[in-house]
C-alpha cells in the first residue's frame, strides 16, 4: 500500500530500481514498514519532531534577523547502505584522508607537490587558508586533519562521487548519533530485526583520538566552542557531554609560559588536547585575526611549543578549498601512487583559462560555487536559475576567477521521504565522518541530508534541508 504510488524515475533511487523492484538492502525494511498504517507513520513523524525539539537539537539560522532556533527536520525513512557498498566508501575515504594529510604536511614543509607542478603553487600560496605561521610546523603525531566529514553523492548510474571535503570542523555528527536514538525508538522491532551496525562508539573513538594526540603524559581534553549563539552549539555541548570532557569558551582558557590552562573554581588546570570548533583565524588574536574575541591569546604559541594538540591542526583549511578539491585525484596519485577509489565530481577550475571559457559558455548547465563559501551560499544552479542570474554570475566569475569552480549538475540519488502526499522521492547526499588518530577510522553510519522540497538539490540545513538516519547493514 504505502509505496504503491511511489513513482519510478530517471534518478537513482536508494530503495527502488527502475522497474519499481525493491533493492535488496531495503527489502527487510519495506516488509516491516508495511505493517504500519499511514496514520501510525504520521504519528511517529510527529513524535519525532517533538523529541527533537524537547532535546533541544536546534540550530540558529544565520542570515535570519530573528535568530530563531530551528530543528533539523528528521525524516522517518532511513537511508540504508549495504555492507559491500559501505566497504567502498570506507576504503575510499581512508585513502583520500591519508593523501590529504600528506599533502597538507608537504605544503607546510618542502612543498614538493608544488615544485613538481602537480598543484599550481600560485593557487596554494595565494589562498587565504594557507597560514604562514604554520610553515615548518610539526603537529603532534604528524596529523593535521583529525576530524573530517566528506560529502558523497550518487549519480543516476548509482556511482558514488566525493562532492566536498570538509576538513574544517565539520558539524553534524551529533545529528548522526541523535537521529539514530530517535529512529531506533520509532521502529524498535524493525531496527532490531535488520542488523544495523552501531554508531554509538563514536564519542569514545573521538576521545581516544584526542588523547592519543596529547603531547604530554597527561591527557586532559576540552572542546572549544564559540558559545551558545553558534549555530552548532548543540553539537559542541553534546560531544563534550558524551566524551565527559569540559566544554570551554575562549574566556575560560588562559596561556601561561606557553602552557594552556582552564580557569576553574579551584584555580588553574592544565589542558593538553583541544577539539576546537572555532575557525583557524579566530583561534588566537596574537597569531591570526587580532579582532577575534572568541580565541585565546597565546594559544598558537603553546601549540607551536608542542605543549598542546589542536584538532584539526591550524592550517588544515588550505586543503579544504573547492579549487584544491579539483586536484585531489592527482594528489592521491602523487602521494600514494593509487587511483582514487571514489572519484571526484568533474570540476572546472575557473582560474584555468580553458576551463573558464567553458564555464562562461555553458553556465546554464553548470553549478557554479564560490570556493570559500560554505553552507550552500554563494552558489548558482545553472539549470534552475534565470537568465539574469546567469549574467550576474558570469560577471562575478570573470571578475574573480580564482574564487569560483563549476561542476556539471549532478542528479543526486533519492530516498523515499514522508511528505504531505505520502512517500515521495527526495534527493539526498551522504556525510560519513572520519577520525584520523592511531589509525584512520570511518564510523559505520553517516548524516544523510535530504532536500525536503520536491526536485530540489539543495540539502543544506540552512536552506530547507532535513536529515535522515543512515543504516549500514552488517551484510
Amino acid at each position: 500500500m504505502l509505496f504503491k504510488k511511489y513513482p519510478t524515475q530517471k534518478h537513482f533511487d536508494e530503495m527502488f530500481d527502475n522497474e519499481h523492484n525493491c533493492r535488496p538492502s531495503y527489502s527487510g525494511f519495506k516488509k516491516g514498514l508495511e505493517k504500519f498504517s499511514d496514520k501510525k507513520l504520521l504519528q511517529l513523524q510527529y513524535s519525532t519532531d517533538k523529541a527533537q525539539k524537547s532535546m533541544g537539537m536546534t540550530f540558529n539560522v544565520y542570515h535570519d534577523s530573528e535568530g530563531i532556533e530551528k530543528i533539523l527536520h528528521l525524516d522517518l525513512v532511513p537511508r540504508i547502505i549495504s555492507n559491500s557498498e559501505w566497504h567502498i566508501i570506507e576504503q575510499g575515504l581512508q585513502q583520500r584522508i591519508e593523501a590529504i594529510n600528506l599533502f597538507i604536511n608537504d605544503i607546510y614543509h618542502d612543498q614538493k607537490v608544488l615544485k613538481d607542478k602537480i598543484v599550481p603553487a600560485e593557487m596554494i600560496l595565494s589562498s587565504s587558508d594557507f597560514l604562514e605561521p604554520c610553515i615548518g610546523l610539526d603537529p603532534p603525531k604528524g596529523i593535521w586533519c583529525h576530524i573530517t566529514g566528506s560529502d558523497i553523492v550518487r549519480d543516476d548510474n548509482g556511482q558514488f562521487y566525493i562532492l566536498e571535503d570538509n576538513l574544517r570542523c565539520p558539524s553534524g555528527v551529533s545529528y548522526l548519533l541523535e537521529n539514530r536514538e530517535i529512529i531506533k525508538q520509532a521502529f524498535p522491532k524493525l531496527f532490531a530485526s535488520l542488523g544495523v551496525r552501531p554508531v554509538a562508539e563514536y564519542p569514545s573513538m573521538l576521545l581516544n583520538m584526542l588523547q592519543y594526540m596529547s603531547p604530554g603524559e597527561n591527557s586532559t581534553v576540552a572542546v572549544l566552542t564559540p558559545g551558545i549563539y553558534n549555530s552548532a552549539y548543540f553539537e559542541h555541548s553534546y560531544l563534550a557531554q558524551q566524551m565527559g570532557t569540559e566544554l570551554v569558551t575562549g574566556q575560560d582558557l588562559i596561556v601561561d609560559n606557553k602552557k594552556v590552562y582552564m580557569q576553574t573554581t579551584k584555580g588553574l588546570e592544565r589542558v593538553d588536547s583541544i577539539y576546537r570548533r572555532i575557525d583557524d583565524k579566530f583561534l588566537d588574536p596574537l597569531a591570526f585575526n587580532p579582532e577575534s574575541m572568541l580565541g585565546v591569546p597565546g594559544l598558537f604559541e603553546a601549540y607551536k611549543a608542542g605543549n598542546l594538540a589542536l584538532a584539526n591542526a591550524p592550517g588544515t583549511g588550505v586543503a579544504d578549498d573547492k579549487a584544491v578539491y579539483a586536484y585531489i585525484p592527482r594528489i592521491i596519485k602523487y602521494y600514494l601512487d593509487q587511483d582514487p577509489i571514489i572519484e571526484n565530481v568533474p570540476t572546472y577550475i575557473c582560474s584555468e583559462k580553458d576551463d573558464l571559457t567553458y564555464v562562461l559558455e555553458n553556465i546554464a548547465d553548470l553549478v557554479v560555487k564560490e570556493t570559500n563559501a560554505a553552507g550552500g551560499y554563494g552558489m548558482l544552479i545553472g539549470p534552475k536559475a534565470t537568465k539574469a542570474e546567469h549574467e550576474k554570475f558570469k560577471k562575478l566569475v570573470k571578475d574573480n576567477p580564482r574564487n569560483y569552480i563549476a561542476q556539471p549538475t549532478l542528479s543526486l540519488s533519492t530516498v523515499p521521504t514522508l511528505t504531505d502526499e505520502g512517500f515521495a522521492p527526495r534527493h539526498v547526499d551522504l556525510r560519513p565522518y572520519v577520525l584520523y588518530g592511531e589509525t584512520i577510522e570511518v564510523v559505520p553510519g553517516a548524516l544523510t541530508r535530504v532536500a525536503l522540497v520536491k526536485d530540489s538539490l539543495v540539502v543544506n540545513s540552512s536552506q530547507g534541508g532535513g536529515s535522515k538516519d543512515t543504516w549500514v547493514l552488517f551484510d
Partner: protein
C-alpha cells in the same frame, strides 16, 4: 569545575527557584481572592511590592494594580527581568551553557517548560478568567526538575553550586512572601485578628506549601507561630533557617573546609546563620518584621557577591601580558 560552569549552575538553581516561587505567589493570591468576603477587593499591590519591583510596575502600568496587569507583569512581561517568562528563559540559557554537566532529563524538562511558558504567553493566559492551571503546571514542572536532580545528580561540586543558588534564592523568597503580609492592607486596625486577617496568614502558609505541616505543629493560626515557623524552624525546607543551614553546608562542601570559615562567603553565611539560629520570635518583633526581613535580604545579597568573588570571577585573558 570551570568557574564559568559553576556560575551557570548557581544561576540555574536561582532562576528555577525564583520562577517556582513566582508561580506559587500568583497561584496563592489568586486563591485568596476567591475566598474574600463580599465587599473586600482583591489586592495585587502587596505581591508586587514584596517582589521589590514596585517602582518598575508603576512606571509600566501607572499604578493600576488590576489582576490582569499584575499577573502579566509577574509572569509574562518580558520587560520584567524577574517575571516567570524571563527567569525560565535565563534558566534555560544557563542550562544550555552547562548542558554537558546536567542530566539529559533536566534539560528536556526545562526546555519543555520554556516552550510551555512561551505558548501560554501567546495565548494571553493573564486575560483568562481562571489562569490557575497554567501556574500549577509551571510549579509542578519545576518540582519535577528538583526531583530529577535529587535522584540523578552526583553530589560533587556542580550539585553544591546549584543547591547553593537554590537555597539562597529560596531564603530570599520566603522572606519576601512573609513580607507580603506587611503590605496587605486591612480595612481598619480593628481587623487585626479578624477572619480576613486569618485568610491572609493562611494564604501565606499555603504559598510555601506549609499549611498542613504548620497545622500539625502549631494548630492555631497565630502570627508569632507563623513567623517562628517560616523564619526560625530548623526542619521545614522552606524556612529561612533551613535554607541558610544548607547554604552554609554547600559552601563548606565546595571548599572542603571544616568548622569555622575559609573565605569571606563562609564567614558571612556563618554569621547570618548563627544570628537567626539564636534568635527567637520576640527578637524579630522587637526590630519589626519588615525591618528584620529587609536587613536579612541585604545580607543575602552580600553573600551572593562574596560567592562571585570567590568562585566565579575569571581573569580576562586579553589583559594578560606576554
Amino acid at each position: 569545575m570551570l568557574s564559568r560552569v559553576a556560575d551557570s549552575l548557581f544561576w540555574l538553581g536561582r532562576y528555577t527557584e525564583r520562577a517556582e516561587n513566582y508561580a506559587r505567589f500568583i497561584d496563592v493570591n489568586f486563591n485568596l481572592s476567591l475566598d474574600l468576603p463580599p465587599g473586600i477587593k482583591e489586592q495585587w499591590e502587596p505581591l508586587v511590592s514584596a517582589t521589590g519591583d514596585k517602582n518598575h510596575f508603576n512606571e509600566l502600568f501607572n499604578t493600576n494594580y488590576s489582576r490582569e496587569n499584575a499577573i502579566f507583569f509577574l509572569a509574562f512581561d518580558r520587560r520584567n527581568s524577574n517575571a516567570i517568562i524571563s527567569t525560565v528563559r535565563y534558566a534555560r540559557e544557563n542550562a544550555r551553557i552547562v548542558r554537558e554537566n546536567i542530566p539529559r532529563e533536566t534539560w528536556e524538562v526545562l526546555n519543555d517548560l520554556y516552550y510551555y511558558v512561551e505558548e501560554a504567553c501567546k495565548k494571553k493566559i493573564w486575560k483568562k478568567e481562571d489562569p490557575k492551571d497554567c501556574f500549577k503546571k509551571i510549579k509542578s514542572q519545576l518540582q519535577l526538575l528538583n526531583g530529577i536532580a535529587i535522584d540523578n545528580v552526583p553530589r560533587t561540586q556542580g550539585w553544591h553550586f546549584s543547591k547553593l543558588g537554590q537555597y539562597l534564592e529560596r531564603a530570599d523568597k520566603t522572606s519576601r512572601i512573609l513580607d507580603v503580609k506587611y503590605h496587605f492592607l486591612l480595612p481598619s486596625v480593628d481587623d487585626v485578628g479578624s477572619p480576613l486577617d486569618f485568610l491572609h496568614w493562611i494564604a501565606l502558609l499555603k504559598s510555601v506549601s506549609g499549611f498542613n505541616a504548620y497545622r500539625r505543629m502549631y494548630g492555631k493560626i497565630q502570627p508569632s507561630s507563623i513567623v517562628n515557623y517560616l523564619v526560625l524552624n530548623r526542619y521545614f525546607p522552606r524556612s529561612i533557617l533551613f535554607c541558610l543551614i544548607n547554604v552554609e553546608s554547600c559552601l563548606h562542601e565546595i571548599s572542603g573546609s571544616g568548622p569555622g570559615y575559609s573565605n569571606q562567603a563562609e564567614k558571612a553565611i556563618g554569621n547570618l546563620r548563627a544570628d537567626i539560629e539564636f534568635a527567637d520570635v520576640n527578637d524579630i518583633f522587637e526590630i519589626g518584621l519588615h525591618e528584620y526581613l529587609d536587613e536579612l535580604q541585604q545580607r543575602l545579597n552580600s553573600i551572593s557577591d562574596y560567592i562571585y568573588d570567590q568562585y566565579f570571577k575569571i581573569q580576562s585573558n586579553f589583559t594578560q601580558e606576554f
